[in-house]
Structure formats: C-alpha cells, structure tokens
Point group: C2
Chain length 249, copies 2
C-alpha cells in the first residue's frame, strides 16, 4: 500500500508540487525505418501512458521535463521542445485514473488534487534510439517503444498529444533541423532521407534532398562505409556543428 502515489519518496509532500499542473513528454525515437514513441504501461492494467510528472514549486517547467526525461531514458542534453499545453477542462475526467489507483491498491480521497482536473504542458523529445535505457514511470511496470501506427490503448488525451507532437515535429523539420537528433552519430544520406520520409509520411527525391541538406553546411563527410562492394559504398556523415541544432530548452 502506497499512499503517496506521485513520488516514490515519502518525504515529498503535497505542497511541494504545483497542483493541477503536469508535464507530459512525447519521446520520439527512430529504429528500423520506423518512427517510435516511448510509452509506459500502468501496473496491473492494459493502459499505457506518456512519461509524465508534476512540477515542483522551486522548479522551472523545462527542468521538470528534463528530470522526467532523465528518469525515463537516463539521457541528458537531448533535444527537447515545449510544443503545446493541453487544458480542456474534461481531459482528465474519466475513470482510467481511478482504475489504475484501484488496481494498485492505492487509496486516496476523491477530493485529492491528483484526481482533479489537470492542465498538462506537452514537450517532445528526440532521442537516439540506440542510447536509451527505457525505465518505466511510477506506477508502471513496462516502458516500451511503439510504432506511431500501432499505439496501444493510451490514457486520457495522450494519443492526441502524440499526434500534435508529430505535427510540430513535421513543421519544424526544415526550419529547425531537429531530425538529426533522432540519428546515431554517423549516418548515410540514404538513412537521413528515410528518416525525413518517415516523419513526413511522403516520398522525397534523393537528388533534391541531398542538395538541400548539403547546402545547409552542417554535415561533415567522414569516410567510406565498408560494405564489401567498395565502389558502391555510401559516404557516412556526421553533424559538424551539433550546437547549431540543439537549441531547444
């Protein structure tokens, strides 16, 4: 029995948090030519959710998002962007939260602030899939990557949050060059093109794409990739000036 459902640390008290405000993180990764999102399953249920948490009284909201991301991925310094705040008054008024608490034998009063209406600040993060060590959120037992096309049943408006984060990612792809944050340190032009095609859900012509990307002057060509057929081996690239890209919060 745990009567302190929003933190494992029993020292943390109600008044340490801003009530009725939360932060939710849409964590995107790219693997096997699929854009994926990291979600966590609530113990003893089939309900999944984004990785989220509350904001401490002495904490900037951006730092709350970074803390949640670190707890979930063990990564620091990753691309993170606040994209929208979700505040429909009835977004949290469903029985899913009650069910989750009940299934985990957590008893809090109906009037507890955790069961009241919440406004949630949405952030999206772009991570190198291969670097992440997923760690389930509190009250959760599994943390897994899901294809955007095959999401499990998500609580509250978390699916809407993911769709909107994707739209913002698509919108910022050219302007902010954010896509690179989803790739490992080195990549081929073909891999980069597939990433763009996957995010934008459309085909791109290689010649135009390669010219546009190289014109940005942020890539460094490093060496021939060994494939066994040397004359066809594609070049590998890496970001020469990563600080130009990581300009998020």
């Amino acid at each position: 029995m745990n009567n302190n459902p929003y933190e494992l640390n029993p020292q943390v008290q109600d008044q340490d948090y801003i009530q009725q405000l939360s932060v939710d993180c849409v964590i995107f990764g790219f693997h096997q030519n699929q854009l994926k999102v990291l979600v966590s399953r609530f113990k003893n249920t089939d309900l999944w959710g984004l990785l989220g948490g509350y904001v401490r009284q002495q904490e900037n909201i951006d730092d709350a998002a970074k803390r949640i991301l670190y707890d979930t991925t063990r990564l620091e310094g990753i691309y993170l962007e606040q994209y929208h705040t979700f505040g429909e008054y009835d977004r949290t008024s469903n029985e899913q939260l009650q069910l989750i608490l009940q299934k985990n034998q957590i008893s809090i009063e109906d009037s507890h602030w955790m069961l009241r209406r919440f406004v949630s600040i949405g952030y999206y993060a772009l991570v190198d899939f291969s670097q992440v060590q997923p760690s389930p959120g509190f009250l959760c037992d599994i943390c897994e990557w899901y294809d955007l096309q095959q999401l499990p049943t998500l609580v509250l408006d978390h699916e809407i949050m993911i769709r909107k984060a994707l739209a913002c990612l698509q919108g910022g792809l050219d302007q902010k060059l954010v896509g690179f944050s989803l790739l490992p340190e080195t990549f081929t032009m073909a891999e980069l093109k597939i990433l763009y095609e996957t995010i934008l859900a459309k085909k791109i012509r290689m010649n135009n794409f390669q010219r546009k990307i190289l014109d940005l002057n942020i890539l460094e060509r490093i060496e021939k990739k060994y494939t066994g057929a040397a004359h066809k081996a594609p070049y590998l690239y890496r970001i020469a000036q990563r600080d130009k890209i990581i300009d998020s919060v």
Copy 2:
C-alpha cells in the same frame, strides 16, 4: 478596500480557479504602419501589463483566453493562438505585484495563492485595430496600444512574452497566413506588403510578394479604389475564404 483582487464579482471564490496558473494574451494590432500591442496600466502605478487572468475550474484554457480577450476588446471570433507556456519558477518572484496591491489598498496574506509562483499560458491574438474598444483589465485604469519599439515598463516577464509572441507571429506568417487578421476587411496590395514588412522587419520586393500572395488563391479583387487619379488607383482586395485562415483555437 477589495479583498477579492482577482475578480470584480465577490461571489467568485478561491476554489473556482486553478491555482498558480494564469493566461496572458499578447494582443497585436496594426495601425499607421506600426505593429502595436495592447497593454493595461495598473492603477496608481507606472507599471503596465498584458491582459491576463485565471482559468476557472470548469473552463477550457482556450475559453479562458477568449473570455479575457472579449473582456478587453469586446471582440469575438478573433484570431487567437496558444504559443508558449512560461514557467520559470522565479518569474513572479518580484516586488511588483506587492506594490500594485499595496498602491490599491488591497490586503491579502503573503501566503495567498495569488502571490505564489505562477505558470502562465501565453496566447497571441491578431485583431483589426479599428474594431477594438480597449477596456482596462482588473486593477487597471488605462488600456492602450503601444508600438513594439516603445513599450512602457512591463511587469514580470511580460516583455519576454511579447518578444516570443512576435517571433511566433513571424514564423507563422507564411505558413498560416495569419497576417490578414490584422487588416480591415479591404486593403490594397501595398498595405498588405507594408504589414508583412513591418512584422518581419525587412523590406520585401513588390513583384515577388504580389505573385506569392495571389498564388495563394484566397484574395478577391473587389473594385477600384477612388483616389482622384483613376488610372493610378490601386486595387482593393478582401479575403475570399476567411475560414481558411481563421483556424486557430
């Protein structure tokens, strides 16, 4: 003496609002070739602020913004966009709020939620300058338009809020065609060009601009403008499909 500083209506109680959360609106207008913002002066001080307010427990955050806008401008159905949530933990920890309360003989306890740290959801609105009837916010005596280059002393981080709203407006100008919302119903191509130049703070070539705008297929050319020199009179335009533009909250 007024002990209920956040609403004129004494029926409204603390628990009707989400605590530590506010909405602030950056209201842009365009007049005499200047981009202007509507701000309100706090009574008995030289401090100005954006028009803002709190979110009722049974109210969507977008509806809170619309309510604040209506109270301030008497306009409905105007272009409104949530652009960023401001949540540095120390953004409200200054003495300005205390001073405003003191100067207006409002006494509330130091521990009152109104004096605690606030997270504020920023919206920007684009209005037809000529249609607005400015109405001061609560605790304010004047509501006026200011040039962006000549802002008065603003409380808290309101100047940062305005700068960021401008950046978002600039970013969305081409993509979302939001600029038209700042113009009266009819306008010349030259007026539209000046609007774009003012928002973007750079010169634009007329030929390219006119072609780009006309290619959007959203303008209707309505009649010759009478200037006394008929052969030089510019065409007047209006938006043929305004619903294509007003896609905000």
